[in-house]
């Protein structure tokens, strides 16, 4: 009698455990499939073409995210590593130093580090950057254009109708494949195929 009861209990336990495993397995597979389908070649996300960007500053103002999901990124292979950096320093700055009054960025989101005479490296603190593009204008006007804007997809909520795209004066915003979501300047190894810019 007891043996029969124990056998029944063991069978029930095994059934429940197996059921839970299958449920978890199917769920995980479902989630994975859903994620894979979500980021498939057929999906598109918003990105801006840095070669069309006219650094108007609207990326900072019109994004539904606060601060904007558009951030400055730096193409190090394009950068001249100049002491007098048009993206870091205000025009006719009093001194080529890190003092606040000489910096172009309103939030000091660009870190400047001495490498060796006469080179300086510039790094973006994305937590401070809000996509105003002042540095992009300075870098593009007076330098190699290595500082440029990109929509960061860990922040972008991929609105059906991007509120920045609606007001972008140069039509720089476009839909790009979700599995290739960035248009980074300076990555010349990829080639110039516009459908696969980065």
């Amino acid at each position: 009698m007891n043996d029969k009861k124990e056998h029944k209990q063991a069978g029930r336990r095994e059934f429940i455990q197996t059921g839970i495993r299958w449920t978890l397995g199917v769920s995980l597979a479902g989630v994975a499939t859903a994620a894979a389908l979500k980021v498939s070649a057929d999906d598109f996300v918003w990105q801006l073409d840095p070669f069309k960007c006219v650094y108007c500053g609207r990326c900072a103002d019109y994004c539904v995210m606060t601060p904007s999901a558009v951030k400055c990124v730096h193409a190090y292979d394009l950068c001249g590593y100049c002491d007098l950096c048009g993206g870091y320093l205000k025009p006719d700055a009093n001194a080529l130093s890190t003092a606040a009054e000489n910096q172009l960025c309103p939030t000091s989101a660009i870190r400047r580090k001495f490498v060796e005479d006469p080179y300086f490296e510039y790094e973006i603190d994305e937590d401070l950057c809000f996509g105003c593009a002042k540095c992009v204008e300075g870098c593009t006007s007076f330098g190699n254009g290595s500082l440029h804007l990109q929509v960061r997809h860990d922040l972008c909520v991929n609105c059906n109708e991007c509120s920045i795209a609606r007001v972008c004066p140069s039509d720089a915003f476009e839909r790009v494949p979700a599995n290739n979501p960035y248009k980074i300047k300076g990555d010349f190894s990829v080639g110039t195929d516009e459908s696969n810019p980065a």
Binding site: L84, D92, S97, T98, A99, A100, F114, D117, S141
Partner: protein
């Protein structure tokens, strides 16, 4: 209920009052980049120490382009040229080409020889290279070791050539004088060592001015301007830099006004005129810090009526000043000053005066007309007589006029020929000549030939009929 709301309100107010929203802010202070001052090791530089003679000859030719911006400092060929108005598919022909160190140094031409102050990246030398204008073969090379790191190119000046001498200024402000024919070293000056010159950003682009037997230099540092005997290297006079201006990329330009000859220099910090002759030679005739910008590359443009047009990049824009005689000296009157989007402005190249008008290419921050060739009248440099249009934009490259044609070199090595006209933009021909980038070095024309370069290669074009 009311009491509860009031309590929440009071607590919220206290919270708001006590919370400092600037708690997390960090002050941006000087020195956070950990900048270190200059080179830690003082380099021993022996100007003109090395010489190489090659087994080549240079056939004698007639033409000259003896210095930066030509014989008259106006970037217009002063000698008669007979140049084509159009190019066929295989024109203009490249007669020869030579590989150079990375940079923007321009050539000078003198009677069949071409002189370029190159930077040899392998031997790490400033190298004054003498080529045959006929075939591009190297005749001799006078050089000296100096460590120049790549910083938007290395070389960037044009030698000044006379019948007997060639005078150069290297990227790190080393002045060298050699015999024109043989390349024999005559004398040298280290402006950083001797005068405390602060190297301009990306090295100096100042080209030496030779006025008769005098070499005129603007070191900045302890001396704003000085004259050197070209034969011996003896210092003739020095004008102390009481204004504490720094050396710019601009070159000294001679000017005659109101019976006075003077040397005009646009420094980082201001602009001045130094007496070029008379008992007060070497004295400051006028100066102004109204034109005060940190990067000045174009040279002053002398306009009639004692006017001088000044322009620079990096947001500076343009300024027209007028000298008003005041006894033996001059007062400086600022006629107009504006930002680059509001009138003629140039970042690297110096505007050209042609038929009473100024021609120049606007910088990238020049507003809607950015990168266009524009024409203005000196009386109103903020109103464009014409612009080349949005389909005809150019870069930071040079432009030159000869035989009523203007040649414009774009950054990517595309050469455009236009007819300079004060009424409209007239394009005659355009062709991609070079494959490199940053084709910014000054052009030179002589004997119906054009010398041009990108960052690595110089070519000689046959542009004659």
């Amino acid at each position: 209920m009311v009491g509860l709301v009031a309590l929440i309100g009071v607590l919220s107010f206290v919270f708001w009052l006590t919370k400092d929203p600037t708690n997390n802010l960090e002050a941006s202070l000087p020195g956070e980049d950990n900048r270190e001052a200059g080179n830690l090791i003082e380099e021993i530089i022996r100007i003109g120490e090395n010489f190489n003679l090659f087994d080549n000859e240079a056939p004698e030719m007639e033409g000259t382009w003896p210095q930066f911006r030509g014989e008259n400092f106006d970037n217009i060929a002063s000698e008669k040229q007979n140049l084509k108005d159009s190019w066929s598919a295989d024109e203009p022909e490249i007669l020869w080409s030579v590989e150079l160190g990375e940079g923007h140094a321009g050539p000078a031409i003198y009677k069949g020889k071409v002189y370029v102050l190159d930077y040899d990246e392998e031997t790490r030398e400033d190298a004054l290279r003498c080529f045959s204008f006929a075939n591009g073969k190297e005749i001799w090379r006078r050089s000296y070791g100096v460590h120049v790191k790549r910083n938007h190119g290395m070389s960037r000046t044009v030698p000044t050539v006379t019948e007997d001498y060639v005078v150069t200024i290297g990227p790190r402000c080393h002045v060298m004088c050699v015999a024109r024919e043989t390349g024999d070293f005559i004398w040298g000056i280290d402006m950083v060592k001797d005068y405390g010159t602060t190297l301009p950003q990306w090295y100096t682009a100042q080209c030496p001015l030779v006025d008769g037997d005098k070499v005129i230099l603007a070191p900045g540092g302890s001396t704003i301007m000085m004259a050197v005997d070209i034969h011996s290297g003896e210092i003739l006079w020095e004008r102390p830099n009481e204004m504490q201006w720094k050396m710019s990329h601009s070159s000294i330009v001679p000017m005659n006004f109101n019976g006075r000859k003077m040397y005009v220099y646009s420094a980082d910090g201001g602009v001045c005129g130094i007496a070029a002759d008379g008992e007060d030679e070497g004295e400051v005739l006028w100066q102004s810090n109204a034109w005060n910008h940190s990067v000045v590359a174009p040279s002053p443009v002398i306009i009639d009526g004692g006017r001088i047009f000044l322009t620079a990049g990096y947001g500076a824009g343009g300024m027209m000043i007028r000298l008003n005689p005041q006894g033996e000296k001059f007062d400086v009157e600022v006629i107009t000053e504006y930002k680059p989007k509001d009138g003629l402005a140039c970042e690297q190249q110096t505007p050209v005066v042609w038929d009473g008008h100024l021609f120049g290419i606007l910088p990238k921050d020049g507003g809607a007309n950015r990168n266009q060739l524009v024409c203005v009248h000196p009386d109103d440099v903020q109103t464009f007589v014409w612009t080349s249009g949005k389909d005809s934009r150019f870069g930071l490259g040079p432009y030159i006029i000869a035989d009523e044609k203007m040649y414009i070199l774009d950054d990517d090595g595309t050469l455009t020929m236009i007819k300079p006209d004060k009424n409209r933009y007239i394009q005659l021909a355009q062709k991609k000549i070079l494959d490199g980038h940053d084709a910014w070095g000054p052009l030179a024309i002589a004997d119906d030939r054009l010398l041009m370069r990108d960052s690595k290669t110089m070519v000689c074009l046959d542009i004659g009929e």
